[in-house]
Structure formats: C-alpha cells, structure tokens
C-alpha cells in the first residue's frame, strides 16, 4: 500500500506539472468559391477583381481568375461585359497571417462611369464553378459641402484647421469617410552630400473632438483630442437630417504635410454596404485570428450571393488643402 501511495503521488505531481496537451484537429472546410471585389466611385470607370477562395487549410493560396465572364447591369439593364485588362498587371502585395507574397493581378474593366443614385449589379460565371456569383450596390447621392474655412495659423502654425459643413439627408442612414491625402516628391541632401529622392503618397494624421467620430486617443494624454488618426468612418446617428459642421486639425509640422505640394481632404459618402464592409474589415484585421485570449473573431461583410467578396460604392469629393 505504501508503495502504491508513493507512486500515485509522484505520478500526480508529474502530470499536474504539464496538464496541457496539443493535438491536431479536423475542421471542415468550405469548397472554393468565386470572389468578386470592387469599389464603384462616380469619378472613375468601373473595375473589379475576380479571384477564387480556397479552403482554410488548403496548400494553395487564393488566386486571380483570368477567364471569368462578368456582366454589368445598371438599374437592371445590361450595360455590357466586363473584361480582364490583361495588358496591365498590378503587382499586388498579399498580406495575411504568415503570408506576404507579391504577384500580378489583373483587373476586369468596362468603360463606364457609375452615376449617383443608380444601382449596379455584376454577375460572374466561371467554368470551374457551378453557380453564378451576383452582387449589387447603389451609388450614394452627391453631397453639398459649404462654409469651407482653412486656418493655416492654428496652434501657432503647427496645425492647419479645416472647418466645413454639409447637410445630412434625413431620409436614410448615411455613412461618411474622411481621409487626408498627400502626394509629393522631394530631394534631400544627406550628410555626405548625396541627394535622395523621397516620394510620398499616402494618408496624413489629423485630430478632432467630433462626437460622431470614434474615440481613438487613449494614450496621448497631453493631446486634447478624442480622435487621432489618418482616416475616420462615421455615421449620421448623432446628426440625422441636420446641418453638420466638421472641424479637423491637421498636423503641419509633420513631413508628410510640410514637404508635400498637394494635400487633399477626401470626403466620401458611403453606401451601407460600404460602411459594413470597411468597418468589419477593420475589426477583422484588428481582432486577428481565433485565439483564446482574443475575443470572438469578426466576419468580414460580404454582399456576394453564391460567392464571397464585396461590391461596394462611394461618392467622393475633394477639398484641396494645399
């Protein structure tokens, strides 16, 4: 009996020290599907990307589909076929968990600009897939921006304050996005006397205390702003049907602003599809993968029947700052 007790005790201690075991798990996967992605904007011709999905544990990666048949419908009337532009290959970086590859991707195009308030539907067939993938989106209405005021002396010149107003449409829930976009090319002389060409094409940080913007400033306690970021997506939940005034403070001392010749504010109205897609994509990327400590994962919004992806739309206006 004494030996039995000793052995039991020792065994218990050993196994208790390393209770966790890891084993492989068989999880069912979905078969590949057509993936249709496109953002329709009033100032550009319609283009979409057609690719395929793969099973979550597949040996292969998703890929561009060059031989799909795609058709564009405007308010339910056929406009024409959307064809792949095989002359122009975009070298696209693909980012994902454990994945960073670059390969050419072709865009399906049709020489047709979307019109505000029109509904567009795209149908895609491919010989490898039995079902037709279908998606549609409605182009948002124009928005009238007024009372634009740009104060370049704000905060001692360290910031430019942009003040503008618009009237929100009270008949529907509306969604908006603001970005500050800079483009420039400069040459700098380094300490050895060589000149480096510097290119910039991207977003610029701005700040605001607008209550419709999400709170993002938790750590910069000395900054008197609730929102700091380079892009904001918000809805009219707090000003539905009212005149809305927006105040943005853009950092001018930061090189992206100070060195660039062109800085614009992009103010877009989104369809609900677009809002759902961008917000869910952001949450999806932030929340990461399945993780015991990470909370529930977020599915990205899709409006493609018999497939995946998103056909979304926006109506963008530009306010030049520089």
């Amino acid at each position: 009996m004494n030996n039995f007790i000793k052995i039991t005790f020792i065994l218990s201690l050993i196994v208790s020290c390393d209770l966790e075991t890891v084993i492989d798990l068989e999880i069912p996967q979905d078969p590949p599907m057509i993936v249709l992605n496109g953002v329709l904007d009033t100032d550009t011709t319609i283009s979409v990307i057609i690719s395929n999905s793969v099973g979550a544990f597949s040996n292969t990666n998703p890929a561009f589909l060059p031989n799909a048949e795609a058709f564009l419908f405007e308010n339910n009337s056929l406009v024409g076929q959307i064809s792949p532009d095989t002359d122009t290959a975009y070298q696209v970086n693909v980012y994902g968990d454990g994945l960073q590859i670059t390969y050419p991707m072709y865009v399906y195009k049709i020489n047709h600009n979307p019109t505000k308030n029109f509904t567009y539907r795209i149908e895609v067939n491919h010989p490898a897939f039995n079902e037709t993938a279908v998606a549609e989106t409605k182009i948002p209405d124009d928005i009238n921006i007024f009372n634009i005021d740009i104060d370049t002396t704000f905060d001692g010149g360290d910031r430019t304050r942009l003040n503008f107003s618009f009237n929100d449409d009270g008949t529907a829930r509306n969604y908006y996005r603001i970005r500050v976009f800079a483009q420039c090319s400069k040459s700098f002389e380094d300490e050895y006397g060589y000149f480096d060409e510097y290119y910039w094409d991207g977003d610029v940080d701005f700040s605001s205390n607008d209550p419709s913007f999400p709170q993002t400033n938790f750590f910069e306690l000395d900054e008197p702003y609730s929102f700091i970021g380079d892009e904001v997506i918000f809805s009219d939940a707090l000003f539905d049907g009212q005149e809305k005034n927006i105040i943005l403070d853009i950092e001018t001392y930061e090189y992206k602003f100070s060195y660039c010749d062109t800085v614009n504010i992009e103010f877009s109205t989104f369809s609900e599809d677009t809002y759902s897609y961008y917000t869910s994509l952001e949450s999806h990327l932030e929340s990461g993968e399945v993780d015991i400590f990470g909370g529930e994962v977020v599915s990205v919004y899709t409006n493609v029947q018999n497939g995946l992806g998103a056909l979304i739309s926006r109506n963008t206006q530009i306010i030049p700052l520089k």
Partner: protein, 800 residues
C-alpha cells in the same frame, strides 16, 4: 388578476371551516442536532402532509380529534406518534439514523419526484457529492451539479449553463447570499468546501415566486449549522490542498458553531525550487464560519460568513553593478487576485404555531485586482535616479441587502410563502490606474522629475437598487391535484454617478407570474407542468472565448436593459421497484430577450473601450429540449443517469448578419452516468462517465482576397481574409471521460479514517479545451488544446 384572488380566497375559506389545531416543531438529526430539510410529516388517517422548511420547521393543522402522525425522512427511522388534538401541540422530531439504512448508501431523503409539486428541481445530498470521483481528489459541489441533466459545462471551468442560459443567469446562494465568482484557479475548482455544506438544491425551471433576479437557475447551497451535541472534526490531506472542519456545541442544544478552512499549497512545494531573487505566491483558500443560537423555541439566530481568495504574485529583484560607479537595483512585482466575501445574519421567529418568519441581512462582495509595478534605482556618478511605475486594474460588485420571508401553513391544503427583499448593488465595472514617479539627482539638470498619478479608461461606479415582493401558495386542490401559484413583483432602478448630479433612471417594475401544477395519475405516476416569467437586472460581460475572473458584472441600464425570460416545462414522473428508482422525463421551452454580449472582435484584456461602447444589446435567445433523469436512491448501488437532448440559439442584430446562430454551449446530446457501490463497511467505489456533443465555435472555413487597397507610392495590396461562415458553425470533437474513485474506510478506537484513491479521465481522452490555428511545414493547420490527461489522486480523511 382579480379572478385569481377570488378563487384563492374561496378555496382558502372552504378549507378553514372546521375547528382545527396545530402540531408544530422542528425536524432535526438526533445525533448532531442539524435541522433536517424536507422531512415529510403526514397524518395517516387524514391523508394530509407537509414538509419541513429549510430551517427544519414544520406546522400541520388538523381537525380536532385523535391523529396518528408519521415523521419520515429517508435514511432515518420513521417516527410515528399518536396525538390527541384538542389544543395546539409542540413536537420536535429528532430523527435517528436507521439501522437498516445505515448499512446502505444514503442518497436522498426528500419528497419523491412523483409527489413533489415543483418541476425541474434536483437535490443532491452532500454525501452523494463526496462519493463522486473528483479532479485531483478535490470534492467539488459544482462539478457534481454539472453532471445533472439540463446542465452543461466546459472542461476546466466551474461555470455551468442551465437550459441554454449563460453562467450569469444562475443565482448561486450560499446560506441565502449571492456568490458572484464561484471559481478558484480560473475554474478548476469551485469555492464551495464540501466539508462545510449540508445541502445542495438546483432549480432549473418552474421557479416558485420566492426566487427572482436570474433567468436560468437557482442553486441553493446551505452550510451546516454545527453540531449541537458534541465536538467533531474532519480533516483531509490531499495532493493540492488540505482541509479542516471543526464543529460543536458552545452551549449544548442551544448554541453551536462550525469552522471550515481549505488552502492549496502548490506554492509551498514550488518555492524551494525558485531562485533566491524570486518570491512566488500561488494559492487559494476558503474559510467558512457559522454560529447559531436558539434563544427559545420561537427565536433562533444564525450568523455565517465566507471568505475566499485566489492569489498569484511574483516578486523579482535584481542587482547589477559594473564596478565603476554604476549600479542598478530593480524590483518587478506582478500580481493577480480575486475573491469573495459573504456574510449573513438570519433570525428565525415563530408567530404562533403557523407563521414562521426568517429575517436575513446579507453582504456579498466580489473583487478582481491585477497589477504590476517596477521599482528601479540607478546609481550614477551624479547620484541616484529612481523609477517607480505601477499599473493596476480592478473590477467588482458589492451587495448589501435584507429580506423577510414568511411561511404560513393554515391547514394541510395550503402552504403560503410571502416576503419582501431589498438589495443595493454597487458595481465597479473596471478601472485602470497608472502611477509614474521618476526622480533624478539634483545635480542632473538635463532631466526633470516626473510624477503622474491618474486613472485611465475609467468606467464609473454604478449603484442599483433592487427590491421585490412575492406571494405563493402551494395548494392541494384534491389528493391528486396540487399547484404552486405565485407572483413576484420586482422594482429596480440604477443610480449613475457619471454626472455631478445623481440621476435616477426610470424605475423599472416587473410582474412575474409563476405556476407549477402536479397531477397524480396513480400512486406511482404523476404529470407536472410549469410556467415561469423571470427578470434579471444585472449582466455579466464575458469574453466569449473563455471565462475569466476579469469578466465584468454590470447593472441593467438604459443602454443595456434588464434581461427577461419565459419558460414552460412539462414532465412525467414515476418510481419503480418500490420507490428505489425514480424516473422523470421533462421537456422545456425557454425564450430570453435583452441579452448582451461583447461586440465581435472585442477582448476585455486587450481593448481600451468602455463597456458601454463595446457591447451588442437586445439579443434574443431560445432553448428547448428533453431531459431524462433516472435516479436510484436506495441499496448498495446508487447513482443516476441523466440525458439531455437540447437546442440553444442566440440572435443579435449585429452578429451573424442578424441571423440566429447556435450558442457556444448548444449541446445536442449530453449524458452523465454516476454510480456508487458500497461493497462493505470498508470499501466503496464511485464511477462517473460523461459524454457531450462538442462545443460550437467559430473557425476559419476558407480564405480569400479583400478589395484592392492602394498604399504609399502606388503600391497595391490586398488582405488575405478568413471566411468564418455562420457564427459557431463548427463543432469541436465530442467530450467524454471516465472518472474512477475508491474509498477504504477504517474505524479506529478514536477516529474514522478514509483513504481515497481515484483517477480523473481514466482512459486519457484528449478532450478539447479550445482550438487555434498553427503552421506545420508552412501549411496551416487547426490544433486543439486539451487540459487534463489521466490524473490520479490520493487523499486521506480523518473524522473524530
């Protein structure tokens, strides 16, 4: 409503016409003086009966004349006594253990499942719980509850899910006080020390009107009162903890006490192996204490308290010197602690022979704290630089309240209960504190001292008041038809301290009707049905991946209003083999609304959003299923088989595109087999086998590209997106395991000793705890973590 009272008064009136007298008193154990709950007291010639209440009090009122009254409680000798009723009589029934039954394993002593009016109620005597094989030999009340039909659980957690409800929807009462966190070590063990417990009772539906405040279940855990006759001690030495319980009379038959303590000692084992510069604290403890005093037959006072904590802390120090004037002393402290404190004062008072009252004052507090700190001193040529940085997080809930319950038995056809309750909740939904103090030597003019002491991400404290009044009557219409009819009126409001001026939000009033009906089809068959409407004014925000002690208790507020449920249940019940086996088959359908959950993607450990901005509200839930419970109560072999076939679904506007999806603990099949066999006085054996459909989880099903994004310098990129399909559309593998335990008892001259040997998960099943993604040879794969392989255990218990 008016018709209800008219019918009630009519029935009440016709049953009180004749001259009647009352026999009343207390049912207790002859040897220990412990009150006996649920003893049956019935008149042989009148076919009328009552049961003793949870303080052992009974009152039976009969017509004038001679009556033979039987007092019965399974496991004890039946007391039969003749009373000549020409006046009210006091009689205390002191039950002696039956010579016949003491050779058997006593399983239950309650009114049987056929006779009881209540539906969806299961009681487990503590003796039964102690004979169930346990993880690491640590007897656990909640692990036993998890084996009951209609109760789902997860490996390694003490939380339980009743009929599709979430863990916060269970009202867990220890001596009438709500206990908010029932877990030790993140859920491996529960906070209830079985040595200090007398009775465990789970109500899953058909809630009597005296219960309120939760949607899915009420788990009542009653502490022992303490032996009134003699001193007793019970000590157990186990692999991870030791326990000691002492009880006895302070004044014989008047005042008794019980003190029980338990502490783990993993840290004591580990400490000798730690480096000298590291101090580790890792343990939990429980301390239960109770005193009760009988002032007279009419007055009795109980004072009980519980305190328990989990403490984990690391204290690390390091010294460094380069021998040329520079030296550094650093101390790192990280800690995590959580625990409950509960206390209650209860006063029993008899108004005459028919009206029993119990007045209760309660206090309950749960607090979670975590933090880390760095203290560092750098000795430089200019002097000492001091760095002191502390970060802390805390959350919790504190209740202060009182209630008065009355139990009035005017005649055997009515058992009326009514009462009122008030609770003040004080919620601390989460607060992060940061303190930074940096000082430089005066000679160092290039730096300035920094001192910051601030609170970050503060969710303000919220107070809420909750009151209710209830009335219920257990009515015997005929010998076959009994019903428990009641109403529960609730009043709730929250005080929000966010603004300078306190604001009362709208007071919320609820009306919750309750009904349970039993119809005897024959002496051995009955059919039952019940309806209950429930309201819950508090929420628990829990990370959906796993339950943590950091989960937040929150009040119902305008942004997240009170949860509601309605449940109907119906059962058919029988007993076989002369009552040795009880069988019940019960179906239920439950709907819930105003449920809340974290927004998808939110992690309370990673996010900085306040809770109000991080939740989905207005959720709906539905659950339905069938439960089969077969229980053998007598004989050398006892135990039960519980099988549940169930569905549980949820719906939120912003989750799963607004469509219904399976709840994480939607478990289609759930089976528990619990067996105990007593070979002789020396040896007994316990076996438990459980099986459950795998948990529903959300897992990647495919991957695809996002829309084309434009980056800097005309760079284009896409994201590789996971497609998860519908929420919780993937099932983890099924869960099953076999536990085994054997006890060897030896009766010595002055004490009784018991060696217990056991094995948890005897056939070493790799049950899923959670799943995650990993890479294997550049290929992505799914992996599963399993917590417990086969775990043998041994303990020694001594009683004297």
């Amino acid at each position: 409503m008016r018709a209800f009272f008219v019918i009630f008064l009519f029935l009440f009136h016709i049953s009180t016409l004749a001259q009647k007298y009352t026999i009343s008193g207390y049912a207790s154990d002859f040897e220990t003086g412990e009150s006996i709950i649920g003893a049956n007291i019935f008149s042989n010639d009148y076919s009328a009966g009552v049961s003793s209440n949870k303080y052992g009090f009974y009152s039976i009122t009969l017509d004038e004349g001679v009556h033979v009254i039987s007092f019965k409680f399974i496991g004890y000798e039946t007391i039969t006594k003749e009373f000549n009723l020409n006046k009210d009589i006091e009689f205390n029934a002191e039950f002696k253990l039956s010579n016949i039954v003491t050779d058997e394993v006593t399983v239950t002593g309650k009114a049987n499942v056929v006779q009881r009016t209540e539906t969806s109620v299961i009681e487990i005597p503590i003796q039964q719980i102690k004979s169930i094989p346990a993880l690491m030999g640590e007897v656990d009340v909640l692990k036993a509850v998890q084996l009951l039909p209609g109760v789902q659980s997860s490996e390694g957690t003490s939380g339980f899910y009743v009929r599709g409800g979430s863990p916060d929807q269970n009202l867990i009462l220890m001596d009438g006080v709500p206990v908010y966190n029932v877990s030790h070590i993140g859920g491996l063990f529960s906070v209830f020390n079985a040595d200090a417990i007398k009775n465990v009772r789970l109500t899953k539906g058909g809630f009597p009107a005296r219960y309120g405040g939760r949607l899915s279940s009420v788990l009542e855990i009653d502490m022992k009162d303490g032996n009134m006759k003699e001193y007793k001690a019970d000590a157990t030495v186990g692999l991870i903890s030791s326990k000691l319980m002492i009880e006895g009379p302070i004044i014989k038959d008047k005042t008794s006490f019980i003190v029980a303590g338990r502490r783990t000692y993993i840290d004591l084992f580990v400490r000798p192996f730690m480096p000298n510069n590291t101090d580790l604290t890792l343990h939990f403890y429980d301390l239960n204490a109770k005193v009760n005093h009988r002032f007279s037959r009419k007055d009795r006072l109980f004072i009980s308290a519980y305190a328990g904590d989990d403490i984990f802390a690391v204290d690390f120090t390091e010294n460094f010197s380069n021998g040329s004037g520079f030296n550094e002393d650093t101390r790192l402290i990280a800690g995590l602690g959580y625990g409950n404190i509960t206390s209650t004062i209860r006063w029993n008072h008899l108004f005459g022979d028919k009206l029993f009252s119990n007045t209760t004052l309660i206090y309950s507090k749960y607090q979670f704290n975590t933090g880390f700190g760095v203290e560092s001193t750098l000795g430089t040529t200019l002097g000492n630089e001091n760095y002191d940085i502390d970060f802390g997080y805390k959350s919790g809930i504190e209740d202060i309240g009182g209630r008065i319950d009355f139990d009035y038995t005017p005649n055997p056809n009515h058992d009326i209960k009514f009462g009122v309750s008030f609770t003040n909740h004080n919620f601390t939904p989460g607060q992060n504190d940061l303190s930074i103090n940096v000082s430089y030597p005066p000679a160092d003019t290039s730096n300035i001292n920094i001192s910051v002491d601030t609170t970050l991400f503060f969710s303000p404290q919220v107070k809420a008041n909750e009151a209710f009044f209830y009335f219920e009557d257990n009515i015997k219409f005929t010998n076959r038809l009994k019903a428990n009819i009641g109403v529960h009126f609730g009043i709730y409001n929250s005080l929000n301290f966010r603004s300078v001026v306190n604001q009362f939000s709208d007071t919320d009033i609820s009306f919750e009707p309750r009904l349970s009906v039993r119809y005897l089809l024959s002496d051995t068959w009955s059919a039952k049905a019940s309806y209950a409407k429930m309201r819950q004014n508090i929420h628990l925000l829990s990370n959906s991946s796993v339950g943590f002690p950091s989960d937040l208790w929150l009040p119902a507020v305008d942004a997240a209003p009170s949860q509601n449920s309605e449940q109907i249940a119906a059962s058919i019940n029988t007993e076989l083999l002369n009552g040795e086996i009880e069988v019940s088959l019960e179906g239920y359908y439950k709907t819930m609304n105003n449920l809340i959950t974290y927004e998808a993607g939110y992690s309370n450990l990673q996010s900085t959003e306040s809770w109000e901005n991080s939740i989905e509200i207005g959720g709906e839930g539905e659950s339905y299923g069938l439960e089969l419970f077969i229980q053998k109560q007598k004989g050398k072999t006892t135990g039960w088989i519980g099988y549940t076939l169930s569905w549980s679904n949820r719906k939120f506007d912003n989750i799963n595109q607004g469509n219904w999806y399976p709840y994480k603990y939607d478990r289609r099949n759930d089976l528990s087999i619990v067996l105990n066999h007593k070979f002789n006085d020396k040896w007994d054996l316990g076996l438990t086998w459980v099986y459950g459909t795998g948990n529903a989880i959300t897992f990647p099903r495919s991957t695809y590209f996002s829309t084309l994004q434009s980056g800097r310098n005309d760079n284009f990129y896409v994201w590789n997106i996971e497609s998860y399909g519908d929420r919780n559309s993937v099932r983890l593998p099924s869960y099953h395991r076999l536990d085994f335990g054997v006890n060897r008892h030896s009766q010595k001259k002055n004490y009784k000793g018991t060696w217990s040997f056991g094995a948890y998960n005897l056939y070493n099943r790799k049950n899923p705890f959670f799943a995650y993604l990993a890479y294997q040879n550049t290929r992505r794969v799914a992996k599963q973590v399993s917590l417990f392989p086969i775990i043998p255990s041994v303990s020694y218990r001594i009683q004297f």
